[in-house]
């Protein structure tokens, strides 16, 4: 019972924020001349959460849902990456760059090799962890050793990766038809693409299993372990953490390393899972959106799962929403923005609610 109220207290405010934004978004949709309920329902349909009226051959609600899962898996990792760094008071704005570095490295080492799946897939994950972790650690190290603000170094590295990797792709790995890097081998891909299951052809994202395990692991790490306690202490007060004997520099580097490694996983599940190749000179927005997703999820790993599912639901379903309800995809991004806007006001809503409650209890006291 106590657990329930605790849970309810944690979620009621985000829920309220989401509700408000759906209402506002609905008004916008109505103003543009479409039916908001139909539009929202289409979002669910497009993400495989409710049935469509007709399906292509070999497709069903399940395949849509799998495709949705495939789509949001990288975001879970990316948001976790942001959350872990934030715990230690660091702001990892370089998630996209770390994703790219990890995805590219894994692509050229494993993706273009002829390794069999049993070797290739774990190797991809390991490379993602290592490359992302190294980049993160570098950012942490620059901060710790040279006092270089992590925001600046992340941004500089973002650009650097973007250009350098674009150079290599265009020079060595380009596919002239798609004009992006050659598609990686099926055996190295973390999503089993177009797999026949019964009468269905679906994309089975292996990454989601890893993602859910990681969510639990990160939660455990942050909330239950010595390391989590140390990161939190460093995040709140570097001086007090130092006084307590915590190695502040080491903690910062470590948290950025973990954050980077998670970003690396996001990278491999995106580039070697969801899409299978890399667009040169494009830094995907996942890393930036992840900041908002993480905060919407209250920086809590389980909260992140839900905020990820919500935010990606809107972008994933937007194609079908356009098709079925005629609402432009741009409106979908505006709604996403509004949801984030409202949830940014979490603290305020909470404060208002608490004040309201206090005034009520005061009143009842007086009545007595």
């Amino acid at each position: 019972m106590k657990k329930m109220t605790k849970f309810w207290n944690a979620v009621k405010i985000p829920l309220l924020a989401i509700l408000c934004s759906l209402v506002v978004g609905g008004v916008i949709i109505a103003v543009t001349g479409s039916n908001p309920f139909k539009a929202y329902y289409a979002l669910l349909q497009g993400s495989g959460l409710s049935p469509k009226s007709s399906y292509a051959s070999y497709k069903s609600m399940l395949t849509d849902f799998m495709s949705y899962v495939n789509y949001f898996t990288p975001m879970i990792f990316a948001a976790l990456a942001v959350a872990v760094a934030l715990r230690a008071g660091l702001f990892n704005i370089g998630v996209s760059g770390q994703m790219l570095a990890a995805g590219f490295t894994a692509s050229i080492i494993v993706g273009y090799s002829s390794l069999n799946a049993v070797l290739a897939k774990p190797l991809v994950v390991i490379i993602g962890l290592i490359v992302g972790g190294l980049v993160g650690a570098l950012i942490g190290f620059l901060k710790y050793r040279f006092n270089i603000n992590e925001v600046v170094s992340s941004i500089m590295l973002n650009y650097t990766f973007q250009y350098v990797i674009s150079f290599f792709i265009n020079t060595f790995f380009v596919d002239p038809v798609s004009r992006q890097s050659k598609e990686i081998s099926a055996s190295s891909r973390l999503t089993l693409m177009d797999t026949m299951v019964g009468n269905l052809k679906m994309d089975i994202p292996l990454g989601i299993i890893l993602a859910l395990l990681t969510v639990v692991a990160v939660w455990f790490l942050l909330e239950k372990t010595k390391l989590g306690y140390e990161l939190k202490a460093v995040g709140y007060s570097r001086s007090a953490a130092k006084y307590a004997g915590i190695k502040v520099g080491r903690s910062m580097v470590l948290s950025m390393m973990i954050s980077g490694a998670l970003a690396g996983l996001a990278g491999v599940t995106y580039y070697l899972g969801y899409v299978g190749s890399i667009q040169p000179k494009v830094l995907i927005s996942t890393g930036f959106d992840a900041i908002a997703v993480s905060l919407l999820g209250n920086n809590n790993p389980f909260g992140i799962v839900f905020s990820t599912m919500l935010i990606t639901l809107i972008s994933k379903g937007s194609t079908y929403m356009k098709s079925a309800a005629g609402v432009d995809a741009e409106i979908a991004s505006v709604i996403t923005g509004i949801i984030l806007l409202f949830s940014a006001c979490n603290a305020y809503i909470k404060w208002k609610m608490e004040r309201g409650r206090r005034e009520k209890t005061n009143k009842t006291k007086e009545d007595k």
């Binding site: 620059l142 905060l295 991004s333």
Partner: protein, 319 residues
Amino acid sequence: MDIVIIDGLSFALPLFIMAIGGIYCEKSGVTMLAVEGLQGFGAFIGAFVAVAIAGNFSGDSPVPFYIAMIMAAVGGSIFALIHALLCLKFKANQVISGVVVNILAMALTAYLTKLLNRVVFGATSDKFVLTVSSRITIPGISKIPVLGAVFTNLYPFELVIVAVAFIAWFVMYKTRFGMHLRACGDNPHAVDAAGRQVGQIRLAAIMICGALSGLGGICFAYSISANFSSSIYVGYGYLAIAALIFGNWRILPTLGACLLFGFARSGGYRLVQVLQMPSSYQDLVMILPYVLTLLLLVFFSKQNGAPRALGVIYDKGAR
């Protein structure tokens, strides 16, 4: 060589004015990651107005250009109100607010550009085509070797930016408002106790940031491609933030950082041409400004520090 200076300046100065906007905001204690969004939205408004009024002026008239600059500043500061509302009124996390403003600006400008093109101009296009701005060469000084290039082929906006930057510096360091603003970033309680409204000062700072970012945005729109589309402003906002942090939240060093970006960039282009590298090497040279920045920071960053109250939500009762 000249071309390096000319192009470098025309890139560095808009970046600089945006960075000054960021300095205003952060010096007042409000984290500003939304420069990009403000830049984009401001430029969007400016470009829209420029196209809308262009018909009333002769084709070569510079008036729409100046009106566009003013409207870009207005547009930027209005959009900045979202950040202000979230950060000041709703006490939102300033980082998330900044990111949200960026996301929102991206979505809105992309959508509205097409919508306005369709509804207002009856055209189908995802961009506003602007008239290119004329360029000025100052007679006399432009003849000086090397240095003369600074005064050659200037965009008029470069002069505007220099003037605005000077005013911004003056206001920040010489006036009462500037003094209160900087104090807000160090200890807002002191400002409150001194009888000034922290909220109002921060609101002003955020709106100034919006105005300057919008101004920088329209200048970029003019200098890079003489048109506005939602894709032209991606990334420069974060670069401006990097520059201001590199410049340790001070105006002059930030100018240095922006010039470094500008010259490294135009120098990189020049290098490709001089060394006759194949076009694919362009991408490799483009990393020059970023790598240089990192290297320089390694040497010059030890003493840097953000304003003390940066990002801390002001609560007058806090202990």
